[in-house]
């Protein structure tokens, strides 16, 4: 469904270099990385509002050069930017206005989502940050896209809506023909829903793999420092001594063996992100 091949892009002083990853139909991908890592830029490339200098972006088996309209008809987005809708008009008026351009836009579907998300039909300029993102989300869903591109929406949602959001996302891909790319630096939500994780750092791709592979290749080891030091040095990505022991992210292989005294777990995405970045820097 989505394929980026050796994509390069210069945006001011920032470079995206050799970004390659793919996402199949029916899956959710978490795009993770620190603030300014390049997540939003990748989403903008996927939305066709930035053009790669090198490499290729293929969505639904076609490119923006070949069929921009076809792609955009099937892509829904939630972006962190302001000014995407008319502040002086209410939600329904905005949805009607921009919905006209989408072949599959359904006003009733929009109303249902807006009501489900607890949105009142007020002027867009009067929406809070969270409400504005909810509105974008409702609008995105109401034109029945096949691909949802979401840029850090959850940080602004209240805990109750975050759960609903995750349910809606999970529901969205249920038929196996739709996909979601969710960019965030808050990995907690991705733990629950992401099938694939793509990790970006300073415009470079660190890895893009499915959750099984992450669990296959990485382990968190916790215990006494000297026990961790007994692990092969080349396998330790980063270790950190704490008050109650030392923790380390280690490369895991089929033949890896660990001291019984060590607590070995699958890494959380947050741990993975933290330890890889620490190890790298």
């Amino acid at each position: 469904m989505v394929q980026l091949t050796n994509v390069k892009k210069k945006i001011g002083q920032f470079f995206l270099e050799d970004i390659t990853f793919s996402l199949r139909e029916g899956y959710i991908m978490g795009l993770i990385g620190e603030n300014g890592a390049g997540k939003s830029s990748i989403l903008k490339l996927l939305l066709g509002i930035l053009t790669p200098e090198e490499g290729q972006i293929s969505i639904f088996g076609t490119t923006y050069e070949e069929n921009e309209k076809g792609i955009k008809n099937n892509v829904g987005y939630v972006l962190a930017e302001d000014g995407l809708f008319l502040g002086e008009m209410n939600l329904l008026e905005n949805a009607r206005l921009f919905g006209k351009y989408y072949e599959n836009f359904s006003e009733s579907l929009f109303c249902n989502y807006a009501s489900e998300f607890g949105l009142k039909n007020i002027k867009v300029k009067k929406l809070s940050r969270g409400e504005y993102l909810k509105f974008q989300f409702a609008f995105a869903l109401s034109h029945k896209p096949k691909l949802l591109l979401l840029d850090e929406p959850t940080a602004n949602f209240d805990p109750e809506f975050r759960r609903k959001f995750l349910c809606v996302i999970t529901d969205f891909i249920k038929d196996g023909r739709k996909s979601v790319i969710l960019a965030t630096h808050l990995t907690e939500d991705l733990e629950q829903i992401a099938d694939y994780v793509t990790f970006i750092d300073h415009g470079r791709l660190l890895f893009s793999m499915d959750r099984e592979s992450i669990n296959k290749y990485f382990r968190m080891a916790a215990g006494e420092e000297y026990k961790i030091n007994l692990l092969p040095k080349e396998n330790i990505i980063y270790k950190e001594a704490g008050k109650y022991g030392t923790r380390a992210l280690v490369k895991h292989g089929r033949w890896s063996q660990y001291d019984d005294a060590l607590n070995i777990t699958y890494p959380l995405l947050e741990e993975l992100m933290y330890f890889i970045l620490k190890g790298k820097h």
């Binding site: 066709g48 509002i49 053009t51 921009e68 309209k69 995407l84 008319l86 008009m89 006209k100 351009y101």
Partner: protein, 243 residues
Amino acid sequence: MRNNNKKLTILHLVILDYAGEIKEGWKRVKGADIVLWFWDFLFIGIMWAPWFMDFAWEYFLQAELFVYGYTIGVLSLGFFISRMYPEKLEKTLLLCPLTQAEKIQYVKTGYRLKVGVPMLFYVLAGTVWLFLQVISPFFIIEIGLWMFFYFRCINIYCMPETGRDDSIRRYPVKGMEIFQIAVQLLEVGQIMGMALYFEGSRWVPIYIYEGTITLLQVLLYIIMKKNLYPIIMERALCYEDNY
């Protein structure tokens, strides 16, 4: 049918885009660069000074006073419009499933509307002046006022190159600002000349002078029209420049 609806929608969007900028435009008018304020308002006062002076007062009619107010009103509106940069929806439209042709249609509709509406005001003002010329030579001022207004219209598309920073402007013609000032200085000459040669027998040189300036305007207009579209299109259709 669908296409017609879309055309309407695009026009609708352009109007909304423009309307949505009123507040922002007004904010920019307040404390806008003093040079423009000077040229747009103070200079008009200077232009009209001869009519308030005794030697020309005999030509000054009640109706002219009305037109003076009317003109200032229209020019103020033109100035105000020039402070509006309706480009918000261009950003959103880039995300919508529009073809390149539809996007170009949006930009062209916007261009026509943005330049056409102020021009319409000009025509309205011109019509009043046309009637007035029957009763007074007053209409000559029209040329000067038209030029102010015209440049304000053109300024609508002299957009900031990046973002909305007024300090970085991008003109369709190199050295346009200098040209504008030069032409406006010529207008000072025009008005002063008119004041000096106001007696009936000396009209011919003034007409020649005005005719020359008008031809210069037409020439500039042709150059601008040729150069404006590519700039407008590039700006509107390139997200990276636009953002």
